[in-house]
Symmetry: C2
Subunit: 462 residues, 2 copies
C-alpha cells in the first residue's frame, strides 16, 4: 500500500471545483450596481460577503473600510517573512444590467449554459477576483502556506471611476507596500489561449447638455426659425470624427506614443479571433481610424464613442416638440501618454467651439482614468507566463487591451508597483452588455493559474 | 318704464362667462391623451362629456361614433332651412403632458393665473373647440335660433394624425354636406389682434432606427473598431441640413410654391410680436433657411426637425456601452404643393443613402398630413373678418401658420369645403409644451366671434 500523498493546493482546487463554483454563484446573485443609488445596500452586502469569504480562505486582518460611497474590502496573509509581497486588486461592483429585456436569463440569477456561467459580474470582475480568494483557500485547505505574502484590495467603485480609491490607497500607502501587483480583470485573446495585457487604455467620460430655446416649443409653430438642440447636438457629435475616423479634437493625438514596427509585429502575431470579433461587431465592425488594424484600433489607439444620447420626445407615438434640451454621454479611450483631465478639457473646449450660434453647451466630467503600460521585461511577467502555461498548457501572448483599468496607473504612481494582468475572461464575455458570462473552465483554471503564479514568484523575483 | 329687451345671444354669452369658464375647466380636467394607450378611457370620457355638452347646448342627433381607436363626436342643428350650412371641426384629444416636471401647475388641474387658464388642451384645442358649443348654447339660452345650419365634428385623434377621420368623413360625406367649414385651432398674431390663417403646413413624421453591432458592446473593448450607431445617427441627422439651413433631401423643394412679392409684402405687413418670439425662442431663434424672414420660415417654408432622439445609456452615472441601436423621431413641416407620403419616402431613401457602411436603417412613417391653402378672397372670410372686428374691435390680418391641421386638406378634398380658420390662441400658448394656457379673454371673445360669424354668414354667402 502506497502512502497517501497530501494533496497540493492545485489538487485541492481541482477537488473543490463544485463548491468554488457555487460560491461564485452566491457572489453574483448580489446586484452590487455601484452607479445606482438604489443598489447601495446591495453593494455593501457584496463587500461583507467578500470579506467573509476572505476570512474563510485564511486571510487575516480582514476589514471593510467605509468610503464616501462604497466600501473597500481589505485582507492580508503575511506568513512568509522575507519572501516577496503581492498586492491583489479586484472589484466587487458591477455595471447596471440595462437593457434588462435583452437578457436571455435574469442578470442576477446565475445560469449555467454551454459551459459558461451567465450573470452580471460573472467575468467583470467577481469571477476573476474570486480566483485569488479561492487560490488562498486552496493553500489553506491543503494545509500549505503561500510562498509569498499577500495583500488583498477589493473596491466597490470600479465601474463608476473609483472616486474614493486613490485617497484610500494614499492614506494606506505604507501598509500596502508590496513588490508587485496582480489584477485579474482582462480577457484572454481566445478560449484556451492565455494572454498577458501589457497596456491598458485610459478613459475620459463626459456628459454634454445643449440648450436651445428656454422651453419646449411646438415644432409646427416654431420649426424652421428656431435652432433645434437635437439637430445641433447631432451636428456637433458628427464633427468629432473626420472622414478617416480620426478624432478632430485639437491636440488629442499630440501625446500619443507612436507604435513602432516591433510592437506592431508583436501585436499582429497574437492570435486574433476574427470570427468572434465579427460575431460581436456584425457588419458594424468594418470601421476605424485609417491606417491601423482592428487590433491596433481596439488597443493601441485612442477613440471617441457616444455612449448615450437623449432629448425631446422618446415615448411611443408622435409628439411634434421642438425641445429645449438634448444630452449625450461621450467617452474617449486614451493611450499612453494622454492625460485624462487634459483630454476632458480639450474635448469640452472643442464641443463649445462647435456649438452653433444660439446653442449653449455645458460639459460635465463624469469620470476618468489614466492609460497605463507595463514593461514587458518585468520578471513577474515571467512567473505569470509560466503559471499560464502550467494551467492552460499554452504559453501566453502579449497584448494591449482596449478597456480601462485606471488602478494600474494609480498603483504605479502611488505605490511604485508594476501590475501583472492575469486575466481569464474572453472577448465575447459581454462585459457591460446583456448576457454577461464567464467560462466555467476559465474560472477553475484561473484559480490554478493564480496558485502557480504565486508559487513561481519567489524565484522570478529573486 | 321701458320694456326689458330680450338679451341677444352675445349679451347672453357675456352674462354666462363664469359658467362657460367653469365648463371649460371641467373639460380640460379629463386627460384625453390620444397617443398614450393608458389614457384610452379618458379619451372616451372626454368624448362623452363633449356629446353631453352639445346636447345641453341645443344640438340634435348627437352621437359618439366609435372608430378603430378613439371616437368621433357628431351633432347638428338644422333648423334654418334654405340658409347656408356650416361644418364645425375641432378636436378633444390632447398632447402628452411630458415633461410633467416642467409644469408650474399640474397639467390636468386647470389653474387661473394672470388672466389665463393653464392646462393641457386649454388652447389646443378644447378651449377653442368649446367656443362653438358655447355659441350654440348662447342662441338656445337667448331663445333665438342660429341663422345657419350647423354640423359639429369633434375628433379624438388629431394629435396622432387622425388615422380614422378620413374614412369616417368619406363614409358620411352625404350627411356632412355644407357650404363652408370653420375651425378654431390656430393662434392670433398677438393679444387682441385677430388674424386669419389662410395657409397651413402639412406634416411628415418619421421614426428612424439605426443598428450597428447586433448587441451592446463594451466601448473600451471594441471602441474604435466598431461603428457606433449613435455617432452614425448623429452624422446622418447632421447631413439633413446644409450650411444655409436648407433641407438636403433630394427633390424636397421641387413642388414648393414660391412666395411672390405680393404675398411676401402681405406677410411682412402683419404685426409680428418679435418680443414674444424672442422670449419663446431665446438665443436659439436666430436661425433658419437663408433668404427668408422668421415669419416666412415659420409659415411659408418647409422644415425638418428632430423631435426626439435616444440610444445607449441614458441613466445617471457613466456606462461605457457601445450600443447596438439608436433612434430618432424626425418631422418635416410641408407647404403647398408638397405631398406628405412623397416627402416621407424621399426622406427615408435619403436617410438610407446617408447611412455609413455597417449601419442598418429602418424608417417608420408614424403619421402625416397634407399642407393646405385657402383662397383669401372666399366670401366666408369676409364674414370672419367682420365677426373678429365686432368682438375684438380690430380688423384681422392674414397670416400663414406653421402648424399642421391636415383636416383642412381632407375637408377640401372629400367634401369640397373651404375652411375658415377662426383661431383664438396666441403664439405663447405653449402648445405641445409644459404650461399650456389659453387667455380667458380670448375664450370669451372667441364665443362672441363665433356668434357674430354665424350671424354674418348668410349675407356674405348670399
Amino acid at each position: 500500500m502506497t502512502p497517501t500523498a497530501t494533496p497540493t493546493p492545485i489538487e485541492h482546487a481541482r477537488r473543490d471545483r463544485d463548491a468554488a463554483l457555487a460560491r461564485l454563484q452566491d457572489f453574483v446573485r448580489i446586484p452590487s450596481v455601484s452607479t445606482d443609488p438604489a443598489h447601495a445596500a446591495d453593494v455593501a452586502r457584496a463587500a461583507e460577503w467578500l470579506a467573509d469569504r476572505l476570512r474563510a480562505a485564511g486571510a487575516q486582518a480582514v476589514r471593510v473600510d467605509p468610503t464616501a460611497r462604497h466600501p473597500i474590502v481589505y485582507g492580508e496573509w503575511l506568513g512568509a517573512p522575507g519572501a516577496p509581497t503581492v498586492l491583489v486588486y479586484g472589484h466587487y461592483d458591477v455595471q447596471p444590467p440595462d437593457p434588462v429585456e435583452l437578457w436571455a436569463t435574469p442578470p442576477f440569477e446565475p445560469t449555467l449554459k454551454d459551459g459558461a456561467l451567465y450573470a452580471r459580474g460573472a467575468s467583470d470582475d467577481k469571477g476573476q477576483a474570486l480566483t485569488h480568494v479561492e487560490a488562498l483557500a486552496a493553500y489553506t485547505a491543503a494545509d500549505r502556506t503561500p510562498p509569498v505574502n499577500l495583500k488583498y484590495v477589493f473596491e466597490g467603485e470600479e465601474e463608476i471611476g473609483s472616486p474614493n480609491l486613490e485617497a484610500w490607497v494614499r492614506a494606506h500607502a505604507a501598509d500596502l507596500a508590496a513588490d508587485v501587483a496582480v489584477i485579474s480583470d482582462t480577457a484572454m485573446v481566445a478560449p484556451g489561449q492565455p494572454s498577458i495585457v501589457y497596456a491598458l487604455r485610459g478613459l475620459s467620460y463626459l456628459e454634454v447638455e445643449v440648450t436651445g430655446p428656454p422651453r419646449d416649443l411646438h415644432s409646427g409653430q416654431f420649426g424652421g426659425a428656431v435652432r433645434n438642440p437635437i439637430n445641433a447636438l447631432c451636428a456637433m457629435i458628427a464633427q468629432l470624427h473626420d472622414a478617416d475616423g480620426r478624432v478632430t479634437i485639437p491636440g488629442f493625438y499630440d501625446p500619443v506614443r507612436p507604435l513602432d514596427d516591433a510592437e506592431r509585429a508583436s501585436l499582429a502575431a497574437a492570435p486574433f479571433d476574427a470570427g468572434a470579433f465579427r460575431r460581436a461587431a456584425g457588419a458594424a465592425g468594418s470601421w476605424g481610424e485609417a491606417g491601423y488594424s482592428a487590433v491596433e484600433r481596439m488597443g493601441a489607439r485612442p477613440t471617441l464613442d457616444a455612449n448615450g444620447i437623449w432629448g425631446g420626445f422618446t415615448g411611443p407615438g408622435a409628439k411634434t416638440v421642438l425641445p429645449s434640451k438634448a444630452f449625450a454621454k461621450l467617452s474617449m479611450r486614451l493611450v499612453p501618454d494622454q492625460d485624462s483631465d487634459t483630454v476632458a478639457a480639450q474635448c469640452a473646449a472643442h464641443l463649445r467651439s462647435l456649438a452653433p450660434e444660439g446653442i449653449q453647451v455645458e460639459v460635465r466630467n463624469l469620470h476618468g482614468g489614466q492609460p497605463a503600460m507595463i514593461d514587458r521585461a518585468h520578471p513577474a511577467l515571467r512567473a505569470a507566463a509560466r503559471a499560464y502555461e502550467a494551467a492552460f498548457g499554452r504559453a501566453p501572448v502579449f497584448t494591449r487591451e482596449g478597456g480601462s483599468i485606471p488602478v494600474v496607473a494609480l498603483l504605479g504612481e502611488a505605490l511604485g508597483l508594476s501590475s501583472v494582468m492575469l486575466g481569464f475572461g474572453l472577448p465575447d464575455d459581454n462585459l457591460h452588455a446583456p448576457n454577461e458570462k464567464f467560462e466555467v473552465e476559465h474560472f477553475h483554471k484561473g484559480i490554478e493559474t493564480v496558485i502557480a503564479f504565486l508559487d513561481a514568484l519567489p524565484e522570478a523575483l529573486a
